[in-house]
Each structure stands twice: as structure tokens, then as C-alpha cells.
């Protein structure tokens, strides 16, 4: 358990802020909680709440979720050799609990101990702990949001902005990531009027292409465990 303590601590403010933000939008109490229970994906949940606040239609939110969570397929590809011996009844819940954090802990464990004999129990222990923590923090956030009336009026939209800044800025550690943010931001202003938030996806995709072009020109970054810049920085943050 002690392996995931830093990640659990790191997730607490995110969960609480997610709950409080969700509470301030058009979403019902139960929908905010249900998203944590069934989707269980921190950044995608934040983004969904942000999109709801700017009254985006649900198909676009689902599409954006797919886009944002697509990185999990890399994690599952990475764990694949270690789950081969388990049946689908074990694999399905393992997949459900697969997040940036549980992957980070799992790959660290595999590096140290290999996958025999009890990798699945280690994984479930750590991931369930994270899961319950996330639900609890969402609830706390929801209650905080409820007990402070009119949060939306005195700038909860701003709370979302600064929370996102707190996620993005630590990831901007080279020219490519910085350009990615600037291009995405600039284009999102220009394309704001496009129907159904298609401008958002266009801006994001263009920014990623620009970043990859810049990255190719400079020295390639060493990919550690497939961890995204985001994970690495969040772990550094809290240690």
C-alpha cells in the first residue's frame, strides 16, 4: 500500500475540486458521482465538467472523452504480457481500474518484482484503494460545493481554469510542449464559434501535430514506461 500513498495524496485535491466543480454545473449530484463511479478517469472527468459548463452537447463530450482516454490503450498494451494467464473475469475489472496512477504503480511493481505469483492481487489492492479514495473525494467536493451557495456566481468557472492551469503548466518542460499549449490556446480562440465545439478538437489536433513536428527537429525525448509528461510531473510534484 505504501507504494501508492504519494499518488493517493496527489489525487485528493483533484477529486475534491472535481466534485465541487461538477456541483456547480447543470449536472445533478448523482451524475457527478456516477461519473466517478463508472468512468473513473480524472482528466476526462474534469474536461467533461468544463465542457458541460460551456453547454456542449453530449456526443461531443463522449468523443472528447475517447480522445483524452485513448492513451490508456498504451498502458494496457504494456501490461498485456502480464495478464495473459488470467481469465476475462479478472482482466475486465483490471481494465476498468486502469488509470494513469494505477498503471504507474503496476509498472513500478513489475519492474521490481516481476509478475509472479501475485501481481493481480497487488494490482487490485492498489487500484481499489485509489478507486475508493476517488469516490470519497468526489463526495467531499460535492458537499463542499453544496454548502457554499452560488459558487458559480463568484467565479467557479475561474476555479476550473486555475485547476487546469495547475495540471498543464508543470507539463510544459520543453519547446514542443510549450508550442503545443500555445497553438491549442490560440486556435481555440479563433475557432470558438465553430459548431458543436468542433473548434476544440481541431485546435487540439493541430497543436499535437505542431508539437510532434518540433519534437522531431529537436532531440527525441526518452520515453520512460510510456508515462505521459503529465504523470511524471504529477509524481514529482507530490514527492
Amino acid at each position: 500500500m505504501k507504494d501508492c500513498a504519494p499518488l493517493i495524496l496527489a489525487a485528493i485535491p483533484f477529486g475534491v475540486i472535481y466534485g465541487a466543480l461538477g456541483q456547480s454545473t447543470a449536472l445533478s449530484f448523482w451524475a457527478v458521482l456516477a461519473m466517478s463511479v463508472f468512468v473513473f478517469a480524472g482528466s476526462a472527468q474534469f474536461i467533461a465538467v468544463g465542457l458541460i459548463a460551456s453547454s456542449t452537447s453530449w456526443p461531443i463530450i463522449v468523443l472528447t472523452t475517447f480522445f483524452v482516454n485513448f492513451r490508456h490503450i498504451l498502458y494496457s498494451a504494456n501490461l498485456l504480457p502480464h495478464v495473459k494467464d488470467y481469465g476475462q473475469k479478472v482482466r475486465a475489472p483490471m481494465a476498468f481500474l486502469l488509470t494513469d496512477e494505477s498503471f504507474a504503480v503496476a509498472s513500478n511493481y513489475l519492474k521490481l518484482h516481476g509478475d509472479k505469483p501475485n501481481f493481480n492481487w497487488y494490482y487490485f489492492g492498489a487500484a481499489l484503494f485509489m478507486y475508493l479514495n476517488w469516490q470519497l473525494c468526489t463526495l467531499v467536493g460535492l458537499y463542499i460545493g453544496q454548502s457554499v451557495p452560488d459558487m458559480a456566481n463568484w467565479g467557479l468557472d475561474m476555479a476550473m481554469v486555475v485547476a487546469f492551469i495547475g495540471i498543464v503548466v508543470p507539463c510544459l518542460h520543453n519547446r514542443a510542449t510549450l508550442a503545443c499549449a500555445l497553438v491549442a490556446g490560440g486556435l481555440s480562440l479563433i475557432t470558438y464559434d465553430w459548431p458543436h465545439k468542433t473548434g476544440l478538437l481541431f485546435s487540439a489536433v493541430s497543436a499535437i501535430l505542431v508539437a510532434m513536428h518540433l519534437e522531431k527537429k529537436s532531440a527525441p525525448i526518452v520515453d520512460q514506461n510510456n508515462a505521459s509528461p503529465m504523470d511524471k510531473d504529477q509524481q514529482e510534484n507530490k514527492s
Binding site: 485535491p13 483533484f14 447543470a26 445533478s28 463508472f38 468512468v39 476526462a44 474534469f46 474536461i47 460551456s54 452537447s57 453530449w58 463530450i61 463522449v62 475517447f66 480522445f67 483524452v68 482516454n69 485513448f70 490508456h72 494496457s76 498494451a77 498485456l80 482482466r91 475486465a92 483490471m94 481494465a95 463568484w154 467565479g155 475561474m158 476555479a159 481554469v161 485547476a163 487546469f164 492551469i165 495547475g166 495540471i167 498543464v168 503548466v169 514542443a176 510542449t177 503545443c180 499549449a181 497553438v183 491549442a184 490556446g185 490560440g186 481555440s188 480562440l189 470558438y192 476544440l200 485546435s203 497543436a207 499535437i208 508539437a211 510532434m212 520515453d223 510510456n226 503529465m230 510534484n237
Partner: protein, 105 residues
């Protein structure tokens, strides 16, 4: 906004992405380009949400010194770059936003 459809859709795409390879397990290697591109997704999407919220809070451009969103965002960026601490970033950004709003409105 239909909450149930949205939640169902989000569940299906998220679980689908996490489970599809486990369901048909074998070894698989992804092209390096895809791996690198995915690293940038959170940065790109989040920033594309931040900018309009800051520079056009009412749906129209609002480039002015009085805009409290801009001031709050600048403070948050500086604090985040300096301390790399989520809670500190949120609190200082919100405080700056509130102070600016109080001064100019």
C-alpha cells in the same frame, strides 16, 4: 443535456479503450508516432478549454487590463511554474481573480 447518454457514452469509450486489448490478448506493439502524439493530448485539450474561458469569459473577446480572468490566470501560471503545487495554484489564482474583480468592478 442528457446526463444518462453522456455517462453511458463516457463509460463505454473509456472502458472500451482500457479493455479491448485485454479482451483479445496477445502481444502488440504500437507505432512510436502514436505513443508520442498521445503524450500531448491532455496539454492540447486542457489549454483549448482554458484560453476561451480566460479571454472570452462571456463568449466575446475581452482583452483588457480589467479582465479578472486574465490576471488570475497569469498568477496561476506563475505559481504553478514556480511551485508545481496544485492546491497552491488554485488558491492563489482564485485569490488574484477575486482581488482584481473587487478592484475593478
Amino acid at each position: 443535456m442528457n446526463e444518462v447518454w453522456m455517462l453511458l457514452g463516457m463509460f463505454i469509450v473509456t472502458f472500451g479503450v482500457r479493455y479491448i486489448l485485454f479482451a483479445f490478448a496477445d502481444n502488440i506493439e504500437f507505432p512510436d508516432t502514436l505513443k508520442r502524439a498521445l503524450n500531448y493530448v491532455p496539454i492540447a485539450v486542457l489549454t483549448a478549454i482554458i484560453f476561451p474561458a480566460v479571454f472570452m469569459p462571456k463568449g466575446e473577446y475581452y482583452f483588457a487590463i480589467e479582465n479578472p480572468y486574465i490576471f488570475g490566470a497569469i498568477v496561476a501560471v506563475v505559481v504553478s511554474a514556480w511551485k508545481k503545487h496544485m492546491l497552491l495554484t488554485v488558491v492563489s489564482g482564485l485569490a488574484a481573480f477575486g482581488a482584481w474583480k473587487y478592484l475593478f468592478v
